[in-house]
Amino acid sequence: MRLFRSLSALLLFAMAASACSIEPWVMPYERDHIADPIMSFDRDPVSSSYIHHVYEAREGARGATGSAGGGCGCN
């Protein structure tokens, strides 16, 4: 929990401090591979949510199964 708060504070700070002033080292026109559907962390949400449910019902571990966002910005 403490770790979560620390990381959240760090991320909120990053969000607040960012003015997107950093020059992207992979330019938007260079992201055709990243934008390919085969590179999606979660290509079929209806399928991945089902299989996560299958595992959660039978295993002790839980959480952090999400796709964590795409971050492509190239559509």
Partner: protein, 385 residues
């Protein structure tokens, strides 16, 4: 007569995960309009579960995307727990969820609601999320919170009713590292408070007065649990058009369970609209502190459990998936579609949970360890609108 569920602990939890699952994956772009119709089937360890799942997502007013999911589990169970301590049963679980994404500049806001009902469990969840693209859209950061309220009852016992309150705190970072490499990091803390055990399950203890040498009493779990999970994911675009996927998750909780998950996957589109996917997943965990297959005597400790899900075990999954593009040129309001088949074969291997179907001539605690295989099938059609 005791009944025994195979997936009691995580019912409400699954609902919370579901709400997260349908949140927009891309922060600065609204998700595509899409409809999926899926049939799922699980068959393993004497349990069969199948049913439909329908997911629809649609943009409106230029800044919003709404999603809705309807899901059914039809369960028929004669699991190892049921066979040894209870009676086989059938039941149905119905679940629906609604979500709304709002896009403003580089910020995405999500709200969600989900509800799951069955004859002895009622769960409701609300969730909130926010995400933002940073650094020329190379980085996406997301934060999420969910609150779940469950009501637990017990069939055949009208006097019993209890509650569970669940809270999820989630953060995620997704990072474009190179033109071909995408990284993802997820961290999630979950706290549960309330009646966390299965009201039908029991533990085993040594009893010299019993003909079998052992006897059963109801299990007792702690009423609180906090878990932390962190996962690192990587997708790499290969020199030819194909993707390699690697994932590691580390898990620990206040019940003493530690677990590791490793996944390696490969996605390969062929020329004629077919995409194949193969994956290997390996999972292993240590048992909860209060787990034992056989306690020395009755009421041995404040907390006692014999759920195989809390034992020391490993599971290995082999997956093969095939997707086929249809309606390539579109049809009426449909832009394109896919037909998909996904097969997972899962092997569960328990290291300190014993198979009590085979007790003849064996002293208590000398029975073989339990293992089983499961076949999981998904068939679904997807349409982009």
């Amino acid at each position: 007569m005791f009944r025994a569920h195979g997936h009691w602990r995580n019912r409400g939890l699954a609902l919370v995960t579901l709400v997260f699952a349908f949140e927009a994956a891309f922060a600065a772009v609204l998700p595509e309009d899409r409809a999926d119709v899926l049939y799922h089937s699980y068959d393993g360890g004497g349990v069969t579960i199948d049913g439909p799942s329908v997911l629809v997502r649609k943009q409106f007013a230029g800044k919003f995307s709404a999603s809705a999911n309807y899901y059914i589990d039809s369960v028929s169970s004669a699991s190892i727990d049921v066979v040894t301590t209870a009676s086989p049963y059938e039941e149905e679980r119905t679940q629906y969820s609604l979500g709304l994404d709002y896009l403003r500049d580089r910020w995405m806001f999500n709200i969600g609601f989900a509800s799951s009902k069955e004859n002895d469990f009622d769960a409701q969840t609300v969730s909130l999320g926010i995400s933002q693209d940073l650094f020329g859209d190379l980085t996406t950061i997301s934060l999420g919170y969910s609150l779940g309220d469950d009501i637990v009852t017990r069939r055949g016992d009208e006097d019993f009713s209890d509650t569970i309150k669940r809270q999820h705190y989630r953060l995620g970072v997704s990072q474009i590292l190179t033109q071909n490499l995408l990284l993802g990091f997820s961290y999630e803390t979950i706290t549960d408070e309330g009646f966390l055990n299965n009201p039908y399950r029991s533990v085993r203890y040594l009893d010299a007065t019993s003909a079998t040498g052992f006897n059963y009493e109801p299990e007792i779990y702690p009423r609180t649990r906090t878990s932390d999970a962190a996962a690192l994911r990587m997708r790499y675009y290969l020199p030819y058009r194909a993707a390699l996927h690697l994932e590691y998750r580390s898990y620990s909780d206040t019940w003493g369970i530690d677990a590791d998950t490793v996944e390696l996957g490969y996605t390969h589109p062929l020329d004629d609209g077919i995409t194949i996917e193969a994956k290997v997943r390996s999972y292993s965990q240590g048992n909860a502190e209060f787990f034992s297959d056989l306690f020395p005597y009755e009421q041995f400790a404040n907390f006692i459990a014999r759920d195989k899900e809390l034992s020391t075990f490993s599971s290995t999954t082999l997956r093969l998936g095939i997707s086929y593009d249809i309606l390539d040129g579109g049809w009426k309001f449909i832009e394109r579609g896919t037909v998909n088949f996904v097969y997972d074969h899962i092997l569960f291997d328990y290291e300190n949970f014993r198979d009590l179907r085979q007790t003849t001539g064996l002293a208590p605690g000398a029975e073989p360890f339990y293992d089983f295989d499961a076949d999981v099938i998904q068939i679904f059609i997807s349409f982009w609108l």
